[in-house]
Structures are given as C-alpha cells and as structure tokens.
Symmetry: C2
Subunit: 325 residues, 2 copies
C-alpha cells in the first residue's frame, strides 16, 4: 500500500468541494499553488469559464484530470428525453477528450421526474433497463473516441432521484455485460485515453502493456462504505483478481467521510477523518486490487465546508490526505 503520509502526490480535488467559494479558474490556480497535481471538474464549472480556456489553463499549470463529472441521467419519460440524455452524454465525452480526462463519470439517473419530486413512474426495474440501454449507446461513441466511462454507484438513499445503480456489484455486472472481458490469450486492447504518465503508472503490467477497460467504475467511499460485499467486489473489479489485465474496472477512487448524524441526504458529507469510514482499510483493498491512481476528495457540504474559506478547505484536504486517507 502506498505511503500517503509524506506528501500529496496522489491527491486530486473534485472541484465541487470548493464550488461555492471559487470559480474553476481560481480553483485551478489555488490547486497549482499548493502542488495539487490533479482535479476532477464538473461540466457547469467548466462551461462557466470556457472549455478551451480551462484546457489551456490546465496544460499551463501542469494539472491533469482524475475524472470528469459527469454524463448519464438516462431514464426519461419518452424517446425525446432519452435521446437528449444520450446527446448530452456525447457532449460530455467530447469535453472529457478536450480536457484529456482519464474517464467520464456516469451518474446514471433514476426515476424520471423524481429529482423534482414528481416521479413519472415507480418501476425502478424499468429505470434500470433504460440505464442499461443508455450506457450501451454511450459506450459505442466512447469506444470510438477512446474515452473510458466510469459508472458511479450511488448510495441507496439516492436511488430514486439520482442513480438506480446502487452497489458496486450491480455496477460490475453492468460492466461485464456491456464490456465483456476479452477471451484469454487475445491481445490487450489499448485504451487511448490512458495515455498520460500517471495513468500509465496505474495501468502497466510487468510486460509493459497499457491496460484499461472501456467501461469501469468510479468508486466513491461515501456511496459504498456500508456494503457488506465491498471487499469482495473491489477484488472482483481489479486486475489482480484473475480478470483479464485489460479489465481493471477501477477507474477512479473518491474519498470524504460519513458523519454521524448525517443531516441531509445529499450535501452533508464529512471531511476525511471526521466521520466513521475506515478509509485506510478500504484504500488497502483498492490498492490490493491493483488501483494506483489518485485519491480524489469530493465533499458536498452545505452546512460546513462550503461555508469555510476555500484556502482552509484545500489545506485541510491536503492535511487529511496525508493523515487519514
């Protein structure tokens, strides 16, 4: 297991963490100033500054992406809605390419209308079927352009409104169905998106071949920490588990903490170390499975961290990354 205690080489900041404090260009500057090497920005933050401008600023600052947020939200009440979701996700894939992201994170969606408190139907099985078909459609284009898609299983408390993929096992079942492992003996497919040095560090076998799945998962401990099958399914996701080496499904790893009590179902995440998640143990499982990428901090916190100065938030992320992640 990597030693994080000496530096923050493997720290990434999901830019939602300081979204209430600063626009994206300022966030990039503040990260660069602190030697933070990676971020994961949201589409609306990028759009507010301008895609090309952000791409240039990232290049100039030497900051890479650990992911791009986000595509998905596939279920809709009619064909027009479903097509709009596919088009939107295609745009997200294009933006991710422009920003040289290692993957596009998919928050897959759930019951149409539920996010506005007006679910159009109650059949979560139907929503799951629409998600299956939506990912399959997005994957065709993602493969063409070489942008891995990372399904993010969301906590079951968000199953109605945001994502009906709610366990790592469910996400991996989808991956295996839509992006099956190559037959033993076939040549590993090179995923163009995995081209930067750090991704290569995370994806090079003893033989030097580049590895990576077209479809994988973004594992956020906030959503999955409670899962009794977590250790087992993390092992399944990795390339140290007897999987074909191109099928390391672990494309991103997000951290924060679970507070007791949790006062809001969406925006009351804790800073690492302030809650009850056994972060070190879970990172051990993830690295055991072969993940050696960034540890991305993603904290939505209306009541606490979004109220504090951005400097304090970033400095605390660095300190906690070294102390408890």
């Amino acid at each position: 297991m990597r030693d994080f205690s000496q530096d923050h080489h493997w720290l990434s900041i999901n830019t939602a963490t300081v979204r209430k404090q600063w626009p994206l260009d300022r966030i990039i500057d503040e990260c660069a100033r602190r030697g933070i090497r990676a971020i994961s920005p949201w589409r609306d933050q990028v759009a507010a500054v301008g895609l090309e401008k952000v791409a240039r600023q990232l290049r100039d600052a030497g900051i890479q992406l650990s992911g791009y947020c986000r595509g998905g939200f596939y279920p809709a009440i009619d064909g027009q809605g479903r097509q709009a979701a596919l088009d939107d996700t295609r745009h997200a894939i294009d933006e991710a390419k422009t920003l040289n992201a290692p993957c596009l994170v998919l928050v897959v969606g759930a019951l149409p209308g539920a996010l506005a408190g007006k679910a159009q139907y109650r059949d979560i099985g139907r929503a799951r079927a629409e998600v299956h078909d939506g990912i399959a459609a997005s994957l065709e284009y993602a493969r063409q352009v070489g942008m891995p898609l990372a399904i993010e299983p969301l906590h079951p408390m968000q199953a109605a409104e945001r994502a009906c993929v709610n366990t790592l096992e469910q996400a991996l079942d989808l991956c295996d169905e839509l992006d099956p492992a190559p037959l033993p003996g076939s040549a590993p497919a090179l995923t163009p998106a995995f081209s930067r040095q750090d991704r290569q560090e995370a994806s090079v076998t003893a033989s030097g071949a580049q590895l990576g799945a077209a479809l994988g998962v973004a594992l956020d401990i906030y959503h999955v920490w409670w899962d009794p099958k977590l250790q087992q399914q993390i092992a399944r996701a990795g390339h140290n588990a007897g999987n074909h080496p191109t099928k390391n499904r672990l494309l991103a790893y997000h951290v924060c903490d679970w507070l007791t009590p949790t006062r809001d179902l969406l925006n009351d995440r804790g800073m690492m170390g302030d809650g009850i998640v056994d972060l070190n143990k879970i990172r051990g499982w993830v690295e055991q499975a072969g993940y050696v990428g960034f540890s991305e901090v993603e904290i939505f916190s209306d009541l606490d961290w979004w109220q504090r100065p951005g400097d304090e938030v970033l400095d605390t992320c660095i300190a906690r990354h070294k102390a408890v992640v």
Copy 2:
C-alpha cells in the same frame, strides 16, 4: 396474490405509527374499534402501560401481534456492554412470549456510540462479527422458548448508527449460517410460537405440518425497496424456492413509502401511495415466495403523520392498505 381491495383483513399497525398521538392502550382500543386485527408494539410503549395489562387488553380485544419491536443492538465497546445487550434481548424474548408474538424483530445495532455521534471504532466488519455472535447467543434462548427471531435489514443510510445488516442477502446469509436448513427428509421442526390461527394459515403445508424458521427476516420495504437483488433474495427467503419447508424466512412484512425528497434519514417516511415504491409489485414477490401474513404499516414521520390526529392516520392506513398496498 391476495386481494386487499375489499377489506383490511391483513392489515397490521406498527404502533410507532401513532406513538406521538396516543399511549398503547388507546392505540389498541382505536385499532379494535376499526376492526384492525393485528398490531406490532414497541417495548417502551408496552412498558408504559404494563406488560400484563397489555397482554390482557389484547386478548380481550381479540387483537394479535404481527411482531414485537425489538431486540438487538449487539455491538458494544466491552464485554459488559455486550452482555447487557444479550440480557436485554432475552427480556424482549420473554415479553414477546407473554404477548404471544409470532416473532421478535431484531434491529441488530452498528458501531457502538455512533448513535450518540461518538463512534467508539470505525470497523464495520468488527460490528458485523459482534452481531453474528450476538444473534447466535440470543438464538439459543429463543429456540428454547420457541420465539422466532426476525432480523430486520435496515437501509444503508442507517448502517453506522442502527444496524450493520443492510441487505436482505446479508440477512439471509446470517440466517443460513446460524439456523441452517434441515437435511432433506428430516422431520419439520414445529415452531411453538406459530400457534395462532392466522400464523397457521401462513405456515401450513398441504400435509398440514406447521412451518417456520427459528431465525428469519422482517422485510420492511422502506429499507430494501432500492435493492437490485430484492426480487431474487425474496425468492430465496421463501419456502416456494426449493428451500426446506421449515425455512420460510419471511417472518414479517412492513410497508410505508419512500418520499422524494426525503428530508430526514430516520423520521420522514411516507404513507403508502405518497412515494415512489412499487408496493404492489414487491408484495407480489413476497407472496410468490409463500408469505401470507400481515402487511404491517410502520411510519416514522416527524414532519407529517405524527403531527396529524391519530384517527386520521389510522383511517388513512386502512384506506391506503386497500388502495395501493
């Protein structure tokens, strides 16, 4: 599937649903007045009125129990705490016997101290091991006196504070380990607790043998509706799934609804029909698996139903039971 639309023969009221309005003796009277045949009371409500008095009142009113709430909360920081939990659960078993309950519901507990915001450790695996051992210990006594124990998997959002058994699959794995199915051909064990007529309706094979597991589950749709493996695991739990007939694990079935948005992680449950759960479909799965017991309404609702007159709440439960359950 049973037709609920004509009457409320299979309705039970979990007495927490009107706990803010009335003491238990009044709740029993109000249920009797409405022809509600079953309730599931909480220990503190029983204690406030008096155990023997409640038992007598239930007999006089002809009201039976669909369950008794609750034992469990096994994990503790030391041996003294663990022994106190075992003693407390033993008392709960005795009370359940006095009240002639068909099962004692177990809310198994989680990280010690987390409910008070001060978790004593972060290792949920350790809490799960303590729960395993606690149930095993309680089960010895429960078998002696013939009181089935019903593990209630709680929603993952309550995994830190209230129960670290969070999926039906996990609960059934525990059942199979601690209360394995008899070998094919062995005589079905008669479970004395299943002695009242309605439980017999729910537990009699063609050959007339009484059925029942010593350890099973209380399935509350609020906690499990989101689970992608729900249908599969319900089928596994039932005695129509190739299980030995004494191993129908479905000991209780609880309903309410999941609201969008949900404003509180504990006390914002919805009345059936006001949320997004496909109640009828899930009851279909449960009955397909062989469950023919009560449909127990359990609604914790600080912001809505606990603020309304008890009469309105009970009348609404009856109406919704017929219309949407």
